[in-house]
């Protein structure tokens, strides 16, 4: 299977690889996936406490080229967004941007999960309650 130009570009020059201090109060960390499944993504956001905007984002990923490209792209998109805006990033946006084939859609799902997990971690640390919009069915 051949990879798209955009996947290759992100794979060769991954953006924002690295580690933020996971213990810092203004850092949210999302760790998703499992080594047994061949994908582990760690995505971190650093929030500017004055403005509430995401100031920095970093990732490290164990996985195939598409998984690395998906997380690299996610960090690019996260920077400069508010948490609410960041939470609206949909996996299909990533699929479209990177031209991922159907067999690699799970990589984009993982990236979306990682974003959500990082936001959730930040909110929990800072005691931020979010109004739950979805109704839970029994």
């Amino acid at each position: 299977m051949a990879y798209s130009e955009k996947v290759l570009e992100h794979f060769k020059n991954p953006r924002n690889v690295g580690t933020l201090n996971k213990d810092a109060k203004n850092v949210g960390t999302g760790l998703v996936g499992a080594p047994e499944c061949g994908d582990v993504m760690r995505l971190q956001i650093e929030v500017d406490e004055e403005t509430g905007m995401i100031r920095d984002a970093k990732f490290k990923t164990f996985g195939c080229g598409s998984a690395i490209a998906s997380s690299s792209l996610a960090t690019e998109w996260l920077k400069g967004k508010s948490l609410d805006e960041a939470a609206t990033i949909d996996n299909m946006d990533i699929v479209e941007e990177l031209a991922l084939p159907p067999v690699k859609i799970h990589c984009s799902v993982l990236a979306e999960d990682a974003i959500k997990a990082a936001i959730e971690d930040y909110r929990q640390k800072n005691g931020i309650q979010v109004e739950i919009k979805e109704t839970v069915t029994a």
């Binding site: 080594p35 164990f62 195939c64 690395i68």
Partner: protein
């Protein structure tokens, strides 16, 4: 960056066709284009002679009789013919077949098919080093057992089964022994009669011959083995496999067998040194593991896990320069890592981190030097990107983490 030659270290998938083989095939496409079954004219006689000669060349490589060689379209067909053909031919004797979990899909899927047709199949587990347990094998044999089918050498790890010992057990219990010897024939000595193998499948394109032609060895005496044909038609190949013979392919197959017979030992000696160097240099890196028994293994193969790095991603760092294959299949259709490695008790995480290197006749010292450099670079790069490598380095026990499996 300097332009490098694309290095091919995936010879277990297929080998390049030796130019000497190609040369012998060419006349049989046009000048000598006859059908080997045409008995009434020169074209047919010429083709028949060429097929007879190739059959002799292959028989010599196996130290067998020419009549014991049946041509097919490849090892998959031979495996199908052996299993289905024996199951049908020996139905009165029993319906039980023994094989192993780490066999090729051509065996496993054929067995699945036979289960639907009423066969009982035992899939032996293998030990951590990839070898079957002889005690397990013997314990699995029962009065209804008609066939044991175990591969000579494994495609993913190169591990060679204890063929002679397996054959002895089969003989003791009067059970036929088939071996998928696709990865072994032409590379190591594979003499079925001497070892006690009654049926053996193999193919030209894994031994520097052309694709699309294979063969099955069928013992003609002590015991005289018969299989029910799976392809009906003109009754070619002693009635076991109908269909016009692929004359150019067979001619090439014969030449490949002749070259293998002459050069196998020197190729094996050279390649095992290169393989050992590649393996030693790569396993100098931290957290690597060689998969499979290193003492009973094909001379040109090594399978290595690079912990905390995913195989497909790793391959992407060097696949502009080196062609290898990985035990990781990262697609939504199959998130499953290599069943061969998992069958050997390797964790899914390590199976996802594995790369198979298979050298061949045309692999050079320089190829191996470059592969060492590029793979090391790739592993280091991917580890920089890997969160689990970072955790490992920080002393985190990865088994204690609650992963969100997906």
């Amino acid at each position: 960056m300097e332009k490098r030659r694309l290095i091919y270290l995936d010879n277990n998938s297929t080998t390049p066709c030796d130019p000497r083989v190609v040369d012998t095939m060419v006349p049989y496409f046009y000048e000598k284009h006859g059908n080997a079954a045409s008995r009434s004219h020169q074209f047919g006689w010429e083709a028949e002679d060429a097929v007879d000669y190739a059959r002799e060349q292959i028989a010599k490589l196996l130290n067998a009789e020419d009549k014991e060689i049946i041509f097919t379209s490849g090892a998959t067909e031979s495996n199908n013919l052996a299993l289905k053909g024996v199951f049908e031919m020996y139905a009165k004797k029993g319906n039980h077949i023994i094989t192993a979990e780490t066999e090729h899909k051509a065996i496993l899927d054929t067995c699945k098919h036979l289960e639907k047709a009423g066969a009982e199949i035992t899939y032996l587990k293998v030990q951590e080093d990839g070898l079957v347990s002889l005690a397990d094998l013997e314990a699995a044999i029962k009065p209804t057992t008609i066939l044991v089918s175990l591969m000579w050498a494994n495609n993913e790890t190169g591990v060679i089964q204890p063929m002679q010992e397996i054959a002895k057990i089969c003989e003791k219990h009067g059970v036929l022994f088939h071996s998928d010897a696709t990865q072994a024939v032409g590379k190591i000595r594979t003499h079925p009669r001497e070892v006690g193998v009654h049926l053996m499948s193999f193919t030209a394109h894994k031994m520097y011959g052309p694709k699309g032609v294979g063969a099955m060895y069928v013992s003609r005496k002590n015991p005289r083995v018969k299989v029910t044909a799976q392809m009906d038609g003109g009754g070619h190949e002693r009635g076991m496999r109908s269909g016009t013979l692929n004359v150019p392919g067979i001619v090439g197959f014969g030449k490949a067998a002749e070259i293998a017979m002459n050069e196998m030992d020197q190729d094996a000696a050279r390649l095992s040194k290169l393989r050992d160097r590649l393996q030693a240099e790569l396993t100098k890196m931290e957290e690597t593991k060689i998969n499979g028994n290193v003492d009973s293994r094909m001379p040109h193969v090594t399978n290595i896990s690079f912990k905390h790095v995913e195989g497909e991603g790793l391959m992407m760092t060097f696949n502009q320069n080196i062609a290898v294959s990985s035990g990781s299949a990262c697609t939504s259709a199959s998130l499953e890592p290599s069943y061969v490695l998992v069958g050997m008790g390797l964790g899914d995480d390590l199976a996802h981190s594995s790369i198979r290197f298979s050298l061949g006749r045309f692999t050079t010292d320089e190829d191996v030097d470059q592969a060492i450099e590029l793979v090391r670079k790739g592993v280091n790069h991917m580890r920089e990107l890997s969160p689990i490598w970072e955790m490992y380095q920080d002393g985190v026990d990865l088994t204690k983490i609650e992963w969100s499996a997906h």
